[in-house]
């Protein structure tokens, strides 16, 4: 009788547990789904497609693997100039041209590839031969731009009284009253190694090493290194320093925080701090510092120390003092008393007890934590640098704000990723070495 009761009891209990499990099994996904639906509307994900600027994405992608050369004719004086990305430092010297440009008397012929030919003719006249469409003739006059396009040109031509812009797969031609411009896109980062004013531009590695000396004043290797390092377009030296600055910010912040936090952690650990009040007070400081968060510390400190890497390093230092203090004191609370007792039994003084009883126990834990934070702070230093203006983060935001040097943006991104991965494996390697040894 009682057996039967117990069995029924057990069964109802099991049923209840199962039903609860079933309900949670359905409720959790349902709640998540409901939340995501709410987010869909709160974040206006539906309107995203409308707001998305896919042309921006296209420029970004195209720019990151190609460069464009501007061929510009001043329609007032008929002078034609050639400049990579339209920048002064990428301008071809007078009399020299890219090899896809030929001159016949005063005429300039620009070969955009695939049969697309642009002729600059006298008196502001320009013709553009588009394969499969025909030849477009334009003439820039003092008050307007004449064309042979008729009333309804195709969609890839944007024509008005004073301006004509033609965009094809091969390039872009625009004519205004004052100037005629042709953009030709080419693969690669042309000026990455040397700018056009360097004698080493467009010289192969082999001929650089074995060929004749190009600059009478300097040997080829020294000269090439100097010109590469001081490249005005890509600023290799500055970028290198910026990366160093970012790593330095992370280094100073992390290790500075560890130095500050270690003595404080002793004061916050239950088995080392004799006074409850001190322990409580130090712990609240840790909580406060962690709660205020890196962003607010960055803002507060940048008011005192001005923009630059110093603020970034100090912001990391202050924030991580809180995190380190908390985790160090936890590690100290977990030390084994036996080792301390053993050291005490040999008649060691308190300082010696700490040195030989406590420190050897916690060092591996602390070091591995410090190195882990160092690695993650390399990333944080990039972000903080973007806010306070220091390191590679600043370069990245600056390049992004101009919204045209996307090849530099992708270059910086690659550098940042490499930097973080190198720090990652360095800290992993050190952690393995230190903790085993």
């Amino acid at each position: 009788m009682t057996m039967l009761d117990a069995t029924t009891d057990l069964r109802t209990q099991t049923d209840r547990i199962f039903r609860r499990k079933q309900i949670t099994g359905f409720a959790v996904p349902a709640v998540i789904l409901a939340y995501l639906t709410y987010i869909f509307f709160a974040f206006d994900v539906g309107g995203l497609a409308e707001r998305a600027r896919m042309d921006n994405a296209a420029t970004l992608v195209a720019d990151s693997y190609s460069y464009k050369t501007h061929v510009t004719r001043d329609n007032r004086n008929g002078e034609t100039s050639f400049a990579i990305e339209g920048e002064r430092k990428g301008t071809y010297a007078p009399g020299t041209t890219p090899d896809w440009v030929s001159r016949e008397g005063d005429d300039v012929i620009v070969d955009l590839g695939d049969g697309h030919l642009v002729h600059f003719l006298p008196e502001g006249r320009v013709t553009y031969e588009v394969p499969g469409y025909g030849t477009i003739e334009m003439q820039a006059l003092d008050d307007r731009v004449l064309t042979n396009l008729g009333a309804t040109p195709p969609a890839w031509i944007n024509a008005s009284e004073t301006r004509v812009a033609i965009t094809t797969d091969a390039g872009r031609v625009s004519v205004t009253r004052s100037k005629t411009e042709v953009f030709r896109y080419s693969f690669g980062w042309e000026l990455f190694w040397f700018t056009l004013d360097s004698p080493y531009h467009d010289v192969g590695v082999l001929s650089l090493l074995t060929g004749p000396q190009l600059d009478p004043a300097r040997s080829n290797i020294v000269g090439a290194w100097e010109d590469f390092w001081s490249n005005g377009m890509w600023r290799h030296a500055d970028v290198f320093w910026a990366i160093g600055e970012t790593i330095l910010m992370a280094f100073l912040g992390t290790f500075g925080a560890a130095i500050v936090a270690l003595p404080l952690a002793f004061m916050a650990a239950r088995n080392f701090a004799p006074f409850v009040a001190v322990r409580f007070f130090v712990r609240r400081i840790f909580d406060f510092v962690r709660g205020v968060d890196g962003l607010i510390w960055t803002i507060i400190l940048s008011r005192a120390f001005g923009p630059g890497p110093l603020t970034g390093a100090l912001a990391i230092l202050v924030t991580d003092t809180g995190s380190f203090g908390k985790s160090f004191s936890e590690a100290l609370e977990n030390v084994d008393d036996k080792q301390i007792e053993g050291v005490r039994s040999t008649g060691a003084s308190p300082v010696q007890r700490y040195r030989f009883g406590v420190i050897p126990q916690v060092t591996p834990v602390l070091l591995s934590q410090i190195l882990y934070y160092f690695e993650s702070n390399t990333r944080s230093a990039t972000i903080i640098g973007a806010i306070t203006g220091g390191g590679i983060g600043l370069f990245l935001t600056q390049a992004m704000q101009t919204q045209k040097d996307w090849e530099e943006v992708s270059y910086y991104i690659v550098l940042i990723v490499i930097m973080v991965m190198v720090m990652d494996s360095l800290s992993g390697w050190l952690r393995k070495r230190l903790i085993r040894g």
Partner: protein
């Protein structure tokens, strides 16, 4: 007999000598590393100071000027504080939402990536290195990089920040998850395989129940981190409380009560979620122990 004692004594002497030599060498190495470290810290600090606009010693006394100014202004207009807090509350909700969604999405992808890159569980064992590399790269790219690129394409707002944090979360959680999954017991998986379960069934019924408490605890910790990250990304233009903070800062003196209310909101939020998450994490790990 005499011979034996003699050599024995010499042996002890040798041992002691070599021990002392080792200790001395160890001390010397320690000293060198310490000296190197101190030199690095000092020169590094000087370099950083030289490359900054302001100096350390000039700035130090001014640290409290700004917080004091903010507190003073906030105190003068303390009556406006509730209204200000209410004004910025929607922005705070947005920041928390960004963190929550990106944690959810990141955890989902991190889960898949971790199972695909754990030895013994992977669907395609040959592709393990590929998925590990994917996670490494996702972890390595700082959120701000993806966020800035996406802001350029998608315009400002919460979605770029959400995607940026979610990608980073997927990489970071994927690594932690796969470390847990490596220690999972494979017997349930084999049992399920013997009754003809396919890969997703084996994972869902054999692995997930074992690792769920640890996974949840890591996810909660990530959520804490992501709240901070989403506030920071807001500051570079991705919406939420960080964006409001930047605006409030540009208003400058006389409007610091707005900044103060944002500081208060942010501080309370971070502390609140810290406490909640550490409470639940403790429960999860302790539940596992009993």
């Amino acid at each position: 007999m005499a011979d034996v004692t003699a050599t024995g004594g010499a042996g002890v002497g040798d041992t002691r000598d070599s021990y002392m030599a080792m200790t001395r060498r160890k001390r010397a190495y320690g000293g060198i590393i310490l000296a190197l470290f101190v030199v690095l810290m000092v020169t590094g600090f000087q370099t950083v100071e030289a490359r900054s606009a302001g100096g350390f010693w000039e700035g130090l006394p001014r640290i409290f000027d700004f917080p004091a100014g903010v507190v003073r202004e906030a105190w003068d207009r303390i009556d406006r504080l509730p209204a200000n807090l209410l004004t910025y509350f929607p922005a705070l909700i947005e920041t928390i939402n960004i963190a929550a969604v990106s944690t959810l999405v990141g955890a989902f992808f991190g889960l898949i990536l971790s199972l695909l890159s754990t030895r013994g569980l992977a669907r395609w064992p040959r592709l393990i290195p590929l998925f590990r590399r994917i996670m490494d790269i996702l972890r390595a790219i700082p959120e701000i990089v993806i966020a800035l690129v996406l802001i350029f394409i998608l315009g400002g707002g919460p979605v770029p920040a959400m995607i940026a944090i979610a990608l980073h979360t997927a990489g970071a959680l994927g690594k932690l998850y796969s470390e847990v999954a490596e220690n999972a017991d494979l017997k349930p998986v084999e049992g399920l395989q013997s009754v003809g379960a396919n890969w997703s069934q084996r994972m869902w019924l054999g692995v997930i129940p074992q690792v769920a408490p640890n996974y949840l605890s890591y996810t909660l910790m990530r959520f804490e981190i992501n709240i901070r990250a989403s506030a920071i990304l807001g500051f570079v233009g991705a919406g939420g409380i960080g964006y409001e903070l930047r605006n409030a800062m540009t208003f400058g003196q006389g409007k610091f009560d707005l900044a103060a209310s944002i500081f208060v909101l942010l501080f309370l939020t971070i502390v609140f979620f810290d406490q909640v998450s550490s409470h639940y994490r403790n429960r999860l790990t302790q539940g596992q122990r009993t």
